[in-house]
């Protein structure tokens, strides 16, 4: 679990680094690229978790993001809903790299749409949906495709490392349980 947490935190750290290179324009006069590697890292991690745990963790993560960004529970609503939908779709797909990139792209779009819809309903923004897609989503989705690819590779290495650690732990447990077998 701690490796998963470190993976997600690394995603958010990369977000803040990417924001230095691609500053966000709050005036939306130019196309915006909004880094979401933290959310995508969490999405990849949650694919291996149960629905209940994934949604609870998603709500917790969204609440933390809202607390830091002052966005009035919008992310706390968007994260669990999008994670639930992606997990339902993931059951119908294999675990190939292409399908993980596809899931990540769809998940990102879904999360952004729910976030935009929530903020519009609350009255925080009056951005029209076509301007939202053109000025914010287009470059964000396109820019994230290669990033999701790299993140999926890293997730596979992380999962492999976790499996190795898990096997070592289980081997040690068997040795400790059976005192007649010498370590």
């Amino acid at each position: 679990m701690w490796i998963d947490l470190a993976f997600v935190l690394a995603g958010f750290t990369l977000d803040s680094i990417l924001r230095m290179f691609f500053p966000i324009d709050p005036a939306l006069q130019f196309l915006a690229f909004v880094p979401n590697l933290g959310f995508l890292a969490f999405l990849l991690v949650s694919l291996n978790k149960t629905y209940r745990r994934a949604m609870i963790l998603a709500f917790l993560l969204g609440l933390t993001v809202d607390f830091l960004r002052n966005e009035m529970l919008a992310n706390a609503i968007a994260y669990p809903i999008s994670i639930y939908v992606i997990k339902v779709w993931a059951n119908q797909l294999n675990e190939s790299l292409f399908e993980q990139v596809f899931l990540g792209t769809i998940g990102l779009f879904f999360k952004e749409f729910i976030l935009f819809a929530t903020l519009t309903l609350i009255g925080i923004t009056q951005l029209s949906i076509d301007n939202w897609f053109v000025k914010r989503e287009f470059l964000t989705i396109i820019g994230h495709i290669p990033l999701i690819w790299g993140l999926s590779y890293l997730n596979r290495y992380k999962s492999g490392a976790q499996n190795v650690l898990e096997r070592k732990k289980k081997r040690r447990e068997r040795v400790l349980w059976n005192p007649t077998v010498k370590p």
């Binding site: 500053p23 130019f30 209940r52």
Partner: protein
């Protein structure tokens, strides 16, 4: 059988605890001493993040930007040399204008004029993390004589005003916010000597421009006219550049004629800004 395993129960308790803490913090938000403590704690972590990540990355980005713009430097140098030659003339005219202002103040028994202000330089610590976020955090606070509702400008124009301030940091609400609470009294320069008053009501994110409502309709506003702060309302001094007229909506509505103004400031690259304090003449 319990539907939640121990980890899920722990997470649910954690969520409940965080929500309770949020409600508690919101309830004690009016306690200024406690709020300043939490802001100082948050500012400590912000300082660490700025030192470890933002500054080095900014330095690398600036180096790459400077290196790639080397070829354009010569043309820029020639242009700037011409401007420098003109600067001495402008400096002499400016000093003469300052002397005229002082004489007029003495004649009219005024303590200060609406154009007087001095600047407090500041660095941006936190930039917007999202396009729906319209606040930035600066590294100056009450210890640097920053107060609530002080105007904030960049090198290109007005960007917002201070909405919260602690001893060492302050939050600035940008003019790009869609909240209609951020009104600014401005004037549109019709000619070198004539202006008309208007009120900057909000920012239209779909048009990418400020929305002004004219307080008088006797003059004609055309595209390209300069819009500056008027100094009325006691929040912003007079003369701060706001933007340039983009288009005029001549359809009459309950709010009068609407003028769309493109911002002069570049909100994407906000690294160093200045807080405007109304007061003594800036003669430096």
């Amino acid at each position: 059988m319990n539907r939640f395993n121990p980890l899920n129960r722990f997470l649910l308790k954690l969520i409940a605890g965080l929500l309770a803490i949020s409600v508690f913090l919101a309830a004690v938000r009016f306690n200024s001493s406690l709020q300043s403590s939490t802001d100082q704690a948050f500012g400590f972590f912000t300082s660490i993040r700025v030192t470890l990540f933002d500054h080095p990355i900014q330095a690398i980005g600036d180096f790459i930007s400077d290196f790639t713009s080397l070829y354009a430097l010569k043309a820029e140098n020639d242009r700037l040399r011409l401007q420098i030659d003109m600067l001495e003339q402008f400096q002499a005219r400016l000093e003469e204008a300052y002397r005229d202002i002082e004489d007029l103040k003495t004649i009219n028994d005024l303590k200060e004029s609406m154009t007087e202000y001095h600047l407090i330089a500041a660095m941006v610590l936190n930039r917007p993390a999202d396009t729906f976020n319209h606040k930035i955090r600066l590294n100056v606070g009450t210890l640097d004589d920053v107060a609530l509702n002080d105007a904030v400008i960049s090198s290109e124009g007005l960007i917002g005003k201070v909405v919260t301030v602690t001893s060492s940091t302050c939050d600035v609400l940008l003019l790009t916010t869609e909240q209609e609470l951020n009104k600014v009294s401005v004037k549109i320069q019709i000619s070198k000597t004539d202006t008309i008053e208007a009120l900057l009501e909000s920012y239209d994110v779909n048009e990418g421009a400020y929305v002004l409502s004219l307080l008088e309709t006797s003059s004609t506003v055309v595209q390209g006219m300069t819009v500056i702060s008027s100094g009325l309302g006691e929040t912003y001094p007079s003369g701060l550049l706001v933007g340039y007229v983009l288009k005029v909506d001549t359809a009459q509505s309950a709010g009068g004629i609407k003028v769309y103004v493109s911002p002069a400031a570049d909100f994407t690259h906000l690294n160093y800004v200045a807080i405007v304090k109304r007061g003594n003449l800036n003669v430096d």
